[in-house]
Every structure is written in C-alpha cells, then in structure tokens.
Amino acid sequence: MDMPVNQKAPLNGVLRRGQYTEEQLAALHRRMSAAALRRRRIKTSVLVALNVVVALFILFPLLYAVSVSLMTGSELFTMDMNLIPSAPTLENYLRAWAQVPLLRFILNSFLVAGCITLGQILTCSLAAFAFSFLNFKGKNVLFMLVMATMMVPGEATIISNYLTVSQLGILDTYLVLILPSLTSAMGIFLFRQFYMTFPISLYESAKLDGCGNLRFIVRILLPLTKSAIGAMSVYTFINAWNMYMWPLLVTGSQEMRTVQIGISMLDNTDAQSITLMMAGVVSVIIPSMIIFVVGQKQLIRGMFSGAVKG
C-alpha cells in the first residue's frame, strides 16, 4: 500500500485533467488491485489443478499397486471398474510375508545397501581427497581414468565379473553382492567437486599444526562436507537397494536373495497371487521410498550445488 503515495504526483496530474475525485480514484485503485489479485488467484489455482492432475498421473502406478494390494482376489477379478478396494484388507500382506521370507530379503538388502553406501563414502572420499588436496605424479591421468569408467556400462563387464567371482568361489555370499560396488566414479567426482570449494588454507594450517592427512579427513573434511555425504548416501543406498541384474546372477539360495529378486518369486499370474504380488512389491518399495522422502532435501542440495551446472 506504499505505491499510491509514491505515485501521488503523476496521479494528481491525471486527476486534474480527468476530473476524478480522490474517492473515485481510490475506488478505481481498489478495483484494479482486486482484479489483479483475482487474476493471480486464478493463475495459482490453475497451476495447482494442473499439478494435481500430473501428480496423479505420475503416481498412478504406485497408488494402483497399493490399492490392489488391499483388495481380495475376488474383488480384483471382475470386469467392472475397481480402482479402490471396497473392503480394504491387510490379508495379502500377511500372506505375502508368510509365503516368502520377505523379512529376510529386506534385511539382506539393508545389509548389502548399507555396506555399499558406507564403503563408497569411504573409498570415494579418500580418493577425492587425494585428487583435490595432494599433488603427485600422474594425478590428471588417474583422474581421467576414473572419469572414463563412467563410460563403461556395467553390462559390458558383467559376464567377466561373474566368471571372476565364480572362480573365486564366493558366489551366493554377501561379499559378492557388496564387493563390486564398493566404489563409484560418480561418488569420487561429486566429492571432489565439493572439496575443490574447500578453503585450502584450512588444510595447510591444519597441516602446520601437525594434523595428519587421515586425521584431517576424519576430523575436519568429512564433518564439513556433510551435505555431499548425505546426497551420496541417499543416491547410493537407493541404487543399491534397487540392484537387479547382479544379485540375480550371483545369488542362488533363498537366504541370500535381495528384495528385488525375492519379490519376483511372488511373480505369478494365477488368480489369487496378483494381489499377493502387489503386497510384496509395496512392502519393498516402502523402505526405499521412506529413505528417498526423508533424504530428498539432502540429495538435491548435495547433488546440485555446483556439481551439474553443465
């Protein structure tokens, strides 16, 4: 409401020429701002409505899966429209959890994804530290080598990797699930990107005070780059949780199956098992979804603060 005061002088000029009274002018002003407000409100509601439609479209497969998982088999098998269960039941979940050891699968996946995440943070931060704080021969060549690994699709090496681990006799163990994923070029790149913005003087003064490199990493560098670690953890954990091809190849026994392979055991198209299958799918999507929703802010802040400005 400061605007009219600022515009008083020119408005007065108009006033004299157009013979408007103060009241008329004020009324006009109110009408115009009301119109602007209405326009803004309409714009916002259109935007919200559009977003609701698109969000429903994007989330539809998930919502439908939840809905089916709460239906009874007979309710699903009709020709009528059945988007929402008429009598929601958790029975499918109880039966799915009884039929396959879902808890075991989930624990396996948590263990594997947790170890991979921890391992990647460790190996990537050490390597990124060397690449950004230390000087040594061949640094650039080695860094290019790391970046070049991003170009090699995992599928191009998967056969040889399978042959390697089967020769080592470590098939069907946690080790074989974890080991190949213990480092990643993306992680090194992300951490290096963060460390490059880190004041080098802090490193030098720590060094003068007799702080060793390892202690510098643990006590100063890691605590100060928490957002990068957060982003990296969320991203790595979700990817490890969702791994499919490698666990499919290297696990054989039911005890070693991870969730993604485990739920395919529920994959059956006979009448009763579709609802069961959806209950299983929803059960294993929930953990990764929770981690994503909780960590989303970290992920965005860490991934995009300078890392992919193009």
């Binding site: 439908y64 009709t78 390597a127 979700i238 969702n242 993604q260 994959d267 579709i274």
Partner: protein, 289 residues
C-alpha cells in the same frame, strides 16, 4: 632417515587411491579387457576360453538377423525412453518452477519414480496391463493384450522405463530452471512476450547445458535397461523386446555362449562410447552457455 621420510611423502598420495583403484581394477578394468579377450574365443560352459576364433564371434553377429533386430529394437527403445522421460521431467519441472501452495509435496511426487526399482515397477505394470483385469484396458475401453502383442510390447517396456527415469530428470531440470536468471523473464514480459515465446526463447536456451547433460545420462541409462525386460517380457513376444543387454544375458547364461555375449558387450560399449563422443562434438557447436 630423511630420505625415507621423503619417499614416504611421495608415495603416500597413492595410498588414498588404493581402495578405489583396487575395486576398479578388479571389477572394471580387468573384466573390461577380459571381455574383449573372451570375445575372440569359443568358450566352454564354465566360461573358460577354449578355442581362439579371432573375429568370428563378431562376424557371426554381424551376419545374424537376430543381432540386427536387437540393435534396432534397442535404438527404438532408447529413442522412446529418452524422449518420454525427458519430456516428462521437463514438464513436471516447469510445473514446479513457480512457487505455489503444496509445491514440496508435488516435487516429491515428481521425483519419486527414481526411488523405485525396475523389478517392482515391472510387476506393477504387469498388473496394470493385464488384458482381462488390468486397469489400463478398463480405463481406455480397449481390449489389447499389451505385453503379448509384438506390436505393443516394446512400447510398454519403453513407457515403463521412461516413467522410472523421469524422476531424476525432474531433479536435473528443476536445478537447471533454478539457475536461470529471473530478471530476463521480467524484461521479456515488459517487452510483451507471451508465455509460449518465453518458454521457447528463454527457458529452453537457458536450459540447454542441463538438457545436454541429461540427454547423455539418459541415453547411457536407457541402453542399460534390464530388469523391466526380464520381468515384463523376457525379450518376447518373438524377439520384439530382445534389447541388447537382455540378449547378452540370454546368450551368456542360458545358451552359455560367453564368447558371443562378450562380443555383444564390446559392441554395446562401442555404441555408447561413439554416441557420447558424437554428443560432445555436437555440444561444442550447439549448446550456449
């Protein structure tokens, strides 16, 4: 003593690289060269290289109709996936570019597909596309057996993959939109530019670096899709969804033709590498920073 210490200081930087290079060495560099080596041999059932055949695995592939089919199917698949997922990501990012009540919830919804596994998503789509009870036929009133029809199976897998990949694209594009200077829009508004003009003249050029980055990442990712094919179609019906990665898997672990599978892996790598290099060449010309 001093000399020893100096030596130590020279060597110590490499120690920080040992863990990561040990893993890379064992599971990336070594298998990479071993794959090339294997592709020159006939193997036994355990994957041991037995008979050196030179480039015969490659020449067999290049004369096999099935392999050309795989390449063609993969290319169509990649085009649909990349186009679909980028469009979806861009549209959702634009929808969330101006703040409004509830924007946090909507952004989470748009990014959510990135948290979902290909296997779980494939099982959900299997139900949605089920010809008798699936909700898709019911909603559209169609009566199509989507997954068992060679005309539609590939599109189904591609749409599923586009949906899965759209989440991270939303994040990329949102970050890109956040980097565009707001004031250019204001100036354009003053000059009387319409919303559509602003989008094509300001938003898209402003996004071009991130569009390029996303394109590269998406193409590489799309080439590697596997779980959804394995669960939804197993490469079928016929060979209509036999993507190259699935074909590698089938040759190696069902037919035990490790040599041929290795040759396909090498070709896959070469295709991705060539595409990446071409894109970087194009980028130098086309992308404005």
């Amino acid at each position: 003593m001093n000399q020893l210490r100096q030596r130590l200081a020279e060597v110590s930087p490499y120690c920080y690289l040992i863990p990561c290079f040990a893993v890379f060495g064992m599971f990336l560099f070594y298998p990479f060269f071993k794959t090339i080596y294997l592709s020159l041999f006939l193997t036994d059932k355990l994957g041991k290289a037995k008979i050196f055949v030179g480039l015969k695995n490659y020449s067999d592939l290049l004369t096999s109709e099935s392999f050309y089919n795989s390449i063609l199917v993969t290319l169509i698949f990649v085009v649909i996936v990349v186009f679909g997922s980028m469009l979806l990501g861009l549209a959702t990012a634009v929808l969330c570019s101006k703040t409004f009540p509830g924007i946090r919830a909507f952004s989470t919804a748009y990014a959510l597909p990135m948290a979902i596994a290909s296997s779980g998503a494939a099982m959900i789509f299997k139900v949605i596309l089920n010809p008798t009870i699936g909700v898709f036929n019911k909603l559209t009133g169609l009566d199509i057996n989507w997954i068992s029809d060679p005309r539609y199976a590939l599109i189904c897998v591609a749409v599923l993959t586009a949906w899965l990949n759209s989440g991270i694209n939303f994040l990329y594009f949102s970050a890109g939109l956040g980097n565009i200077d707001e004031s250019i829009y204001e100036r354009a508004s003053v000059d009387g530019a319409s919303g559509v003009q602003k989008f094509f003249r300001l938003t898209l050029p402003g996004l071009s670096p991130i569009i390029f980055y996303t394109l590269v990442v998406n193409i590489i990712q799309a080439f590697q899709s596997f779980g959804q094919v394995k669960i939804l179609t197993q490469g079928g019906p016929g060979e209509s969804t036999n993507l190259i990665v699935y074909s590698i898997y089938r040759d190696a672990f069902f037919n035990y033709k490790f040599g041929s599978a290795a040759a396909q892996s090498v070709i896959l790598f070469l295709i991705i590498m060539a595409l990446t290099l071409v894109m970087f060449k194009v980028e130098k010309k086309g992308v404005k920073y």
